[in-house]
Symmetry: C2
Subunit: 393 residues, 2 copies
C-alpha cells in the first residue's frame, strides 16, 4: 500500500505501451503504476512517476520490484515461468500466475491444454522432423512454441524446404492446419482472484501480414448466439486455466464451421481459437473510449481483486486503427498530429512516445459513432495522417 | 520539444488534481506533462514522470521550469502577474498570459472589465469603508478582490458589523447585489493562440456552502436560445480578454432576468456572470468521459495551438459529483472503493491521491446514461460510498 494515499501499488513488468496506458487508468483509481522497464526511454518509463530500471529476466531485479508492490502483473509474456514461481513462493502476488501464463507463453502447451478442454482449435500436432510435417500435410501453418508475437514465429509453409533451417535449429515447433477463415474475431474477459468474470463484446480484428491493423466493436453481423458462445468460451478458458487479469482469446471464424467435439459445452459452430494473451491486448484498445470500463482499468481491478467494471459499449460502433510509423523523413510527427486534429476533431489519438520507424506500432486512433462505415472511414483517415502526413487518396 | 518523442513539452505550474488529470490527457497525445509542484506528495507529483519541486512564487524556480518547456500553463491562478510577465519577456510561451489571467486573479478587475464590455454582471461597486457598504445597500455579497476560491473570500453580509475586521484589514474589497438566483450554470470555452474557439455544452452546477458538489451536463431544461447565448457570451469574453487555454464562465440564472445593457450583444434574458476561471475547472470534470474531448486534452490542445477537439456529449446525460473526505476513522478509502465498485460498476471514479480529511475534495465520480435522474442517483450513491463507506439512506 502507498502510505501517502492509502491505495494499493500495482507493479507492471515491462515498460511498453500497455504499461503506459495502464498507468493512465491507475491515475484515475488514485494509484500510480510502478513500472519495471529496461530503459528510461520506454513508453511507460517516459510518463510514470515510479520506474525501476531492470531486466524482466533478472530475478534479483524482479525481487526488488515485487517487494515494493502489492501486486505484480505484466506488460508482456516474456518473464520466465521459474522467476514468476520464485516470486510467488516468496509470498508475492503475481497475476496471472505461472500456471496460467504458460499457456500464453507456449503455443504447444496452449494447444494441448485447449484440446484437453474440448475447446475448438485447428487440427494441430507437435513436429520435430520434415517427415512429421509431410505426414501432417501441406500447406500448413508452422509455429515456434515460444517467443513469437505480432506474426513473428509463424510461417505459412507450402513446401518442407521453406523451413528446413527452422527444423534444424532445434526450436520446439507445432504445425496447424491452414483453416479457411472468413475473418478473425477476439473476445476479452477479465477474471479476479475471487473468480468474478467480466466479458467484453466480441470484436472483429482485421490483420495485415500477421499484425492487427483495425478492430471493429462490436463485430458486425455476428449472430447473437455465436457472440454469446464466444463470450462463454472465453469465460470457460479463463476459469479452467485459472487466469487472473485480462485474457484475450483470438478466434478464427471459419467457413463451414470448426472442428466439433460433440460435447455439450461446444461453442457455436464456426469458431476456432487462434491465440491466447493474458494481459491488456491490442484487440482491446478500443475500450478506452468505447467501453464504460477500459481494458486497462479492468486489468487493474482484476489483479487487485476489486469488483469488475461495466463492459458495456459507450457507442453503437467503435473502430480502433493502429498507427504505424511511415517512411523516413518528411513531416514531423507533431505536424502530422496537427493535420489529423484539423481533419478529424472527434477521433481520439493515443501516441506511445516511440521514435517513428517504418512499420513500427507508434500509437492508435479510435472513432466512435452511430455508423460503423463512418467510424472506419474516420479512423482510417486519422491513422493515415499520422503515418504519412497526407490525406488518404 | 522532447527529442525522444518529437512532441512538445507542456509545463504546468502547480501539482494539484488539475495537473494530475492533465497528465493523463498528455499521455494520450504522446506527451508527458512537466509539473512544478511544491511537494512530492501533491496529486500530480505522485503520478508524473517529470516533476520539478519549487514554489510558484519563486521567479528563479519558474525560470528554470520554463526553460525546459515549450509552453507553460497553470493548475491554479496564484502565480504573480509580474512573474508571468517576466517569463513572457524572456521569450517563454505562457498561457493564459498575464493580461488575461489578471481577470481571473482579481475580482475587482474582472467586474470592471466585464462591465466595460457590456457583459451581464450583478450590480457591484468597489468598497473601502462601512459607509460605502451601507450606501450600496444590505444584504449584499462582499468579496475580497484577490485570493478567494471555493467560497473563501466571499461573505454574505446582512450587517456592517459582520465584516468590520475585514474592512479594517486593508484587503481590497468589492460588493455585489445578492441576486435572486434560480440556479447556477457554467460554460467552458477553449481558445488557441490562433484564435480558434471550441465551446462545451452549458452545464448546471449545484453548490453547497460555496463549493461545487454536482454538475449536470447538459443543463436540464435550458431553452436552446439561452444555452446558445451563454456559449456566445463565453466565446466573446475569451476573445475580448485574449484568453489562451480554457475559460470557465460561471453564471447565475436569475429570476426575472439579469441587468440589461440594451446593447445588441446582450445575452439572453436571465444570466449574469459570477466568476471566471482560466484553466481546467471543476465544472468541466464531466468531460473526461462525458464529452468527446476532455477539458484536459482541450486545454493542452489550446495552449499548444493544436486544432481543437470535438466538444460533443458522449451520452445524453452526464452527472459529475465531487467526492469529499468523510469523518475520521472507520473504513479505509480502499475498502470504500471496493464497495462503490460493487454497487455501481458503471460509475467512473477519479481519485486524486490525496489524504482523506473531512470536507476535503479527494476525487470525483461520473455517471453517464440516457436518463438524468438515474445518472444523478448513481453518481450520488457512488460518492456517498467513497465519503462515508456506507450506502446512502
Amino acid at each position: 500500500m502507498d502510505t501517502r494515499t492509502g491505495l494499493p501499488v500495482v507493479g507492471m513488468i515491462g515498460g511498453g505501451q500497455l504499461a503506459r496506458m495502464t498507468h493512465q487508468a491507475a491515475i484515475a483509481l488514485g494509484q500510480s503504476l510502478r513500472v519495471l522497464a529496461n530503459d528510461v526511454d520506454e513508453s511507460a518509463a517516459l510518463v510514470a512517476a515510479d520506474v525501476q530500471l531492470g531486466s524482466h529476466t533478472d530475478l534479483a531485479a524482479l525481487r526488488t520490484f515485487a517487494k515494493s508492490c502489492d501486486v505484480v502483473t505484466f506488460d508482456h509474456e516474456h518473464v520466465p515461468g521459474e522467476h514468476i514461481r520464485a516470486l510467488a513462493a516468496e509470498g508475492h502476488k503475481v497475476f496471472p500466475g505461472a500456471d496460467a501464463l504458460r499457456y500464453a507463453q507456449d503455443k504447444h502447451q496452449m494447444r494441448r491444454r485447449l484440446s484437453e478442454l474440448g475447446a475448438p482449435v485447428p487440427r494441430w500436432a507437435p513436429i520435430a522432423t520434415a517427415a512429421e510435417l509431410v505426414e501432417f500435410g501441406l500447406p500448413a501453418i508452422v509455429k515456434t512454441a515460444r517467443g513469437g508475437y505480432d506474426g513473428r514465429g509463424v510461417f505459412v509453409v507450402n513446401d518442407v524446404e521453406e523451413i528446413i533451417d527452422l527444423l534444424a535449429s532445434g526450436a520446439e515447433l507445432i504445425v496447424e492446419e491452414k483453416v479457411e477463415l472468413r475473418r478473425e474475431l477476439a473476445v476479452q474477459v477479465a477474471r479476479s482472484p475471487y473468480g468474478q468474470v467480466a466479458v467484453y463484446p466480441v470484436v472483429e480484428t482485421v490483420q495485415q501480414d500477421g499484425i492487427c491493423v483495425e478492430v471493429l466493436a462490436p463485430a458486425p453481423d455476428l449472430p447473437e448466439d455465436v457472440a454469446i458462445g464466444a463470450q462463454q468460451l472465453a469465460i470457460r478458458i479463463a476459469n479452467e486455466l485459472g487466469v487472473v487479469g485480462l485474457l484475450a482469446v483470438e478466434l478464427f471464424e471459419v467457413a463451414g464451421g470448426g472442428p466439433r467435439t460433440g460435447k455439450q459445452s461446444d461453442p457455436p459452430q464456426g469458431l476456432v481459437i487462434n491465440e491466447l494473451a493474458m494481459r491488456p491486448h491490442n484487440s482491446g484498445h478500443w475500450t478506452i473510449e468505447g467501453a464504460r470500463t477500459s481494458q486497462f482499468e479492468q486489468h487493474l481491478r482484476a489483479v487487485l481483486d476489486y469488483p469488475m467494471g461495466d463492459t458495456s459499449l459507450a457507442a453503437p460502433a467503435v473502430v480502433m486503427v493502429n498507427v504505424l510509423g511511415g517512411p523516413e523523413g518528411g513531416m514531423s510527427i507533431d505536424e502530422r498530429l496537427h493535420h489529423l486534429m484539423a481533419a478529424e476533431p472527434g477521433v481520439k489519438v493515443h501516441l506511445y512516445g516511440k521514435q517513428t520507424r517504418p512499420g513500427r506500432k507508434i500509437g492508435h486512433v479510435t472513432a466512435l459513432g452511430a455508423d460503423l462505415a463512418d467510424c472506419r472511414r474516420r479512423a482510417a483517415r486519422a491513422a493515415h495522417w499520422l503515418t504519412y502526413g497526407t490525406a488518404p487518396a
